[in-house]
Symmetry: C2
Subunit: 340 residues, 2 copies
């Protein structure tokens, strides 16, 4: 069965015939301590034979650092976060840090994540933009507790942490104006469940409603549907919309994946895009360029790139928690392509 106990530095020291201090020096490769090669080798050999690995909890407790950063995301399998994770990982590797990812997709898990962060499971954290279960106050609380953070949010003030913003409203305004300017009157909105449930939480839906007013279009609540959360739901939502006696002449999809599905739904229904149905998606998805026609989107001005977020995090870890944080902004743009 299981080996009785993990080997400790004491075991290694005993086997190598040195003290635990020497083991520590050798294991950490400290150059300020001049350890003779012979001693060093003896220690390393003993460590190897015992398969010794310094206990992380003990080390963190003593050093008062975990050498881990935490990436808090709202879901996985969302394209933009893959890139975010990638960029954080790359930077962390350089800094000798590990990356722990915590998925927060319910209030309970949000509470748990805050607790873990407060308990110093990591030396710093990135809070991804789709966390709806954490408000600014909680984050400020964490920051005041001494945790370096960068928060991706369009609303939270940089109170104790850095914030990077990606304002969506101007781009959405441009997209809706474009749709109305080109004669669309019945614009449907295919949103995420959370935003349709509570429009005030969504820049996109807010922009949609404002555009309706601005262009004297009659709001039709039945044109606001969910489906942006996944491809299949979006396909069905748009199919149903097109199947109505009074179908929309444009669809704004709150994700790029939903936009792609919308184009496919239209094609399968025999509706010409953009002739009979204009489609706009939200987000940056390489697939937007291979649909027929190419999908118009609102999204980041350039390709997804979060290296700046990663840089900010490690700067923040080095510098400590600020009174007021830095604020970066990278507004979305409207990228008209073939579908609108």
């Amino acid at each position: 069965m299981t080996r009785s106990r993990q080997p400790t530095s004491r075991d290694v020291a005993a086997l190598a015939g040195v003290s635990v201090a020497t083991v520590s020096y050798v294991m950490n490769g400290r150059t300020d301590r001049r350890i003779p090669a012979e001693t060093r080798d003896r220690v390393l050999e003993a460590a190897g034979r015992l398969a010794y690995a310094p206990n992380r909890s003990a080390r963190s407790l003593r050093n008062r650092r975990t050498e881990q950063v935490c990436l808090v995301v709202g879901s996985i399998g969302v394209p933009a976060y893959d890139q975010l994770a990638q960029d954080i990982h790359d930077r962390a590797d350089d800094a000798g840090y590990g990356v722990l990812t915590i998925v927060v997709n319910s209030p309970a898990r949000a509470a748990k994540a805050v607790e873990l962060l407060q308990q110093r499971i990591a030396d710093g954290a990135v809070i991804a933009p789709d966390i709806r279960f954490l408000d600014g106050a909680e984050l400020t609380g964490l920051a005041r507790g001494g945790l370096p953070m960068v928060v991706m949010s369009n609303t939270a003030p940089p109170d104790g942490f850095d914030v990077v913003r990606a304002p969506q409203t101007p781009a959405c305004d441009a997209a809706f104006d474009h749709l109305f300017a080109t004669g669309r009157r019945r614009v449907a909105f295919v949103g995420h469940r959370y935003e349709v449930d509570d429009p005030s939480t969504s820049e996109r839906l807010t922009a949609y409603l404002a555009a309706l007013g601005r262009h004297d279009a009659e709001p039709d609540p039945s044109l606001v549907v969910t489906g942006a959360d996944d491809r299949v739901a979006a396909y069905h939502a748009v199919t149903a919309l097109l199947d109505r006696p009074d179908p929309p002449d444009a669809v704004f999809a709150a994700s790029a994946r939903a936009g792609v599905s919308a184009i496919w739904a239209a094609r399968d229904a025999g509706a010409d895009v953009p002739g009979e149905l204009a489609v706009v998606g939200a987000g940056n998805l390489p697939e937007s360029l291979i649909t027929r026609p190419a999908l118009s989107t609102v999204g980041p001005a350039t390709e997804d790139d979060f290296t700046e977020v990663a840089r900010l995090l490690f700067d923040r870890i080095d510098a400590g928690v600020p009174e007021r944080g830095r604020e970066l902004s990278d507004p979305w743009a409207f990228h008209p392509r073939g579908s609108s």
Copy 2:
């Protein structure tokens, strides 16, 4: 700037006028210790005022448990792992555990992950199936070091850990036999980069090559291409294949996403599916049912469900590391649909 120091149980004890032991008892809600409500409230109030959170490293060191499990995956943004992560999270929540996700997509990160696991960053781990950078020996080493694990692998023997298998070969054989039986002679293989680089690592590609032999089909190396790693690459790969003077009459895509892209590419190229091109994908993706025609696949017999994996992990954590682990198997099946 940053608050001088995190509050400790000593600080709380001082403020509440009790000892650290009492603080510990109260914070852990221990019912075997009968603490009067008045004392309890005083402690809780002091803790609240100081925003005290017990330090996780100290607690783990003392308890010899981290109350975390680690999910080691090869990449994120892959549909099946979203479900895996979901199921692990659900089970962990029930058990009061946290979930740390580590992404291993290079040999260096594999080494780092092993190191962290060895250092007892978690009380148990699930190793997802697409980790090509960890071999059975390393995993057995970890297990012998006392780490409860469940490994999703079709090859690693259950040596010190439980293993869950999803054998693909019979389903692939059936799919290829079906393609050849229905008259396909030029079957292309759109694979992941790693498998095309080293066919011996892939059940799918091995099955493909065997089927070629079994059906006296001339192997054409130019029909084996990469692209299964992402939708856009797959689209381009299939478009290029169809653009050849001697296009294939069938495509086996090593992922379901690639299979979906293949159907799109064919439609955009004006090639009838399945008339001119049969398409089979690998994996279980709900989208398979909404393509036109529906995508035939090889994949799990039923919907993705990893609750059993999660159960196994927590059983293993309770029971300790075994000499020889349990072995579960859930073979893939061929699901013929419209596209083949």
